[in-house]
């Protein structure tokens, strides 16, 4: 329901001149639009300004063990909060640095809205046209909020307390590997339909008897501390990792899944996260590409999507471009033009 979706603007005084749509409420005081009803939304304190994390001198990007840069991303947080409380919209209250470029503002919009959340927009005259265009784009595609994530693994937890810390970081790092994931509550077997593997991040004991039928039917159930074994057509995998090193946990998950289950792959995209969804009827899909470096990439990025979609269209906030696809390994590979902070690849069967 597009009308009830809150798009707040941080503006303490009377509104600036000009068209502010699709902004529809104000956050932190101000006049001229209704106030954001804070009780009706979730505003997480853990949200971070989205960016490539720089070293202390600010001169170079920090990188992880693979050499890929660390990014401050909120997609996992938006998805986790939406899962925990689907009735309350997620709003990210993050503020740009004084020197933030218009592309950085656009990234903040995409980092929230691609995952079904909203960003408390900060008005700056030079960036406002792009911020508006980005918000309007996502509002025009509001149906994407309800599309299913294409996932190789379901992350099982209730995502409170320790679950939130472990599960959240696990999701954050799965996204850095472009591993498609969905979320499932402990004991909810319906949420595992169509997903080949599940990772137990909950601190609770696994109700193994409940999961065994799913495993025996071909599922892979992963957890730390389990004894690995085959069960019917599936397997139980005890990961050789510790929650003290979530990077190691996620590497072990990916290894247990094997890259055969990758839903997409990216090249020359170290600062990108992706989020790949499919419509309920399965005939359309979208792969969001979010570039945390915000710079229009100088390297040519390519993407492989495991499903052989018939056509692909690149949608940025400015235009749509038809993409050339090549069949590779049962899916399609697509060379992409230089990308800015965000692009969507719209797919049709």
């Amino acid at each position: 329901m597009a009308q009830s979706f809150r798009l707040p603007l941080r503006w303490p005084g009377s509104l600036p001149a000009g068209d502010l749509s699709p902004v529809n409420c104000l956050y932190g005081g101000g006049e001229g639009l209704p106030a954001l009803p804070e009780a009706e939304v979730q505003i997480p304190k853990r949200a971070q300004w989205p960016s490539v994390r720089m070293n202390r001198q600010g001169a170079a990007a920090e990188s992880g063990p693979t050499g890929a840069p660390w990014v401050n991303a909120n997609g996992w947080l938006v998805r986790m909060l939406r899962f925990r409380d689907p009735g309350r919209q997620v709003v990210l209250d993050t503020k740009p640095a004084a020197a933030a470029s218009p592309a950085a503002y656009v990234l903040a919009v995409a980092d929230a809205m691609a995952y079904g959340g909203a960003w408390v927009a900060t008005y700056a005259r030079e960036s406002w046209p792009q911020v508006r265009a980005a918000m309007r784009f996502f509002m025009a595609h509001s149906e994407w909020r309800d599309w299913k994530p294409v996932s190789a693994v379901a992350v099982i937890g209730d995502f409170t307390g320790l679950d939130e810390a472990n599960g959240g970081e696990c999701m954050n790092l799965l996204a850095r590997r472009q591993v498609g994931y969905s979320l499932a509550a402990p004991g909810d077997l319906h949420a595992l339909a169509g997903v080949g593997a599940a990772m137990w991040v909950s601190g609770r004991e696994i109700p193994m008897e409940k999961y065994l039928p799913w495993v025996r039917g071909g599922g892979t159930l992963m957890a730390i501390g389990l004894a690995s074994r085959a069960e019917g057509s599936g397997r139980v995998v005890g990961l050789d990792a510790s929650w003290k090193d979530v990077y190691g946990v996620v590497a072990a998950i990916h290894l247990a899944l094997t890259r055969k289950t990758d839903v997409l792959r990216l090249w020359n995209a170290g600062s990108f996260n992706s989020f790949y969804q499919v419509a309920p009827d399965g005939k359309r899909g979208v792969a969001h590409l979010i570039n945390y470096s915000t710079n229009r990439s100088s390297d040519d990025t390519s993407i492989w999507i495991a499903r052989p979609w018939r056509s692909a269209m690149l949608s940025s906030f400015e235009k749509q471009t038809s993409l050339k696809t090549m069949p590779v390994n049962g899916g399609i590979e697509i060379p992409l033009p230089p990308l800015g902070a965000y692009a969507a690849i719209e797919l049709e069967a």
Partner: protein
């Protein structure tokens, strides 16, 4: 200050190296023109191996270890170009080699590489590049992969000594796969190299050193459990030592410069772990450097495959195909900033780079010459 004794010792060593170089072994090298990785590849590679006396005499009833070149990260490409069409050995070349080795009676074939900063199996690494490792696994009867960037499946590293002493190290601690084989094959890509001038069958073996010992994150006393980063600090720059469990540098006062150190380490390695079959594929490749991380690199299509049983002879022919003189010394293309690896390997008695003595079968160098600096 150099003493008279140092001077005499140095002169004696130089004379000995000259003698070894003069007596270095020579073997024929075969060249085949090859424009695509498609249907014509099988007959082309058959002719290639026939040109050096066939594969049967090399691999029949043998355990074969093949070092391929999968340098850099699989998530990095030269523009939109898949790795195998630029800087990686093409999987069709690997698969066809396996197929022909299987026909020639190879007992078991192990594909080896030390992938960037990971203990993941090679299959996973290949999939990340969008390869289907199943095509390689099914190309011959008994094929295995091993990631050699760490200890792997063995209890200990294997220590391989450099005959005649070595330039940089007297011995290297390597993954067991480089010792547990009857035949060692290097399948390289025909490329230039920012540090070593060219990267061919010998330079491909730079990657046999495990980063758990020779890498930026190597353990100080003992090898680390997992590799971290590349070999920049230990081998290129010499700014830190390999793990103390491994043999240490022979000349710690030698230049701390990649162009000095890398060619010497490579020459040592191919002396310590002799290459029984060198295959250099340049059907599609890249110019200007060894990977997309080098500025100014670009795609190129040399359209050629080269093979030989002596890596120095084979690299000498390949160097000439690229438009360079294999006898060129430091300061001369392609060795503007480095020493000539072929010369250093020749000094260790590995093989000869003297084109006038090397028999070339199939196409001739002049027929396929591809001046890569002009590509």
């Amino acid at each position: 200050m150099i003493t008279r004794r140092d001077f005499l010792a140095g002169a004696a060593t130089a004379a000995m190296m000259q003698q070894r170089a003069a007596a270095a072994p020579i073997a024929p090298v075969a060249i085949q023109r090859c424009r695509t990785y498609g249907h014509g590849l099988e007959p082309t590679m058959r002719r290639l191996f026939d040109g050096i006396g066939g594969l049967k005499r090399i691999v029949n009833n043998k355990t074969v270890a093949i070092k391929v070149n999968l340098t850099g990260r699989p998530s990095q490409r030269l523009g939109h170009t898949p790795a195998e069409l630029a800087h990686w050995t093409h999987p069709r070349i690997i698969g066809m080699t396996l197929h022909l080795m299987n026909e020639a009676g190879a007992k078991r074939i192990r594909i080896l590489e030390s992938p960037w900063s990971t203990t993941d199996p090679l299959e996973e690494y290949m999939m990340e590049a969008n390869w289907d490792p199943g095509l390689i696994l099914s190309a011959a009867k008994k094929v295995e992969f091993e990631n050699t960037n760490f200890l792997g499946n063995a209890k200990d590293y294997s220590r391989l000594k450099v005959p005649n002493g070595g330039h940089m190290f007297a011995a290297y601690d390597l993954n067991h796969s480089y010792a547990d084989c009857d035949v060692f094959v290097s399948i390289a890509k025909l490329k230039e190299h920012a540090t070593a001038g060219v990267t061919l069958s010998m330079k491909n073996c730079f990657g046999i050193t495990p980063c758990t010992i020779y890498g930026d994150g190597a353990g100080e006393k003992e090898p680390s459990r997992a590799p971290f980063g590349g070999r920049g600090s230990v081998i290129h720059a010499g700014s830190r030592k390999p793990s103390l469990s491994a043999p240490q540098e022979l000349h710690p006062d030698s230049p701390r410069q990649g162009g000095y150190r890398v060619p010497r380490v490579v020459a040592d390695l191919v002396a310590a772990r002799p290459i029984d079959l060198a295959i250099i594929e340049g059907v599609e490749s890249m110019a200007g450097g060894e990977g997309p991380w080098i500025r100014g690199t670009r795609r190129c299509s040399p359209g050629v495959i080269i093979a030989g049983t002596n890596p120095v002879c084979t690299d000498a022919v390949a160097t000439a195909v690229l438009g360079f003189d294999p006898k060129a010394m430091r300061g001369t293309p392609p060795f503007e900033n480095c020493d000539n690896t072929m010369a250093l390997a020749e000094q260790l008695g590995v093989g000869s780079r003297d084109l006038s003595k090397i028999e070339v079968a199939g196409a001739q160098i002049a027929d396929v010459r591809y001046e890569i600096r002009k590509a």
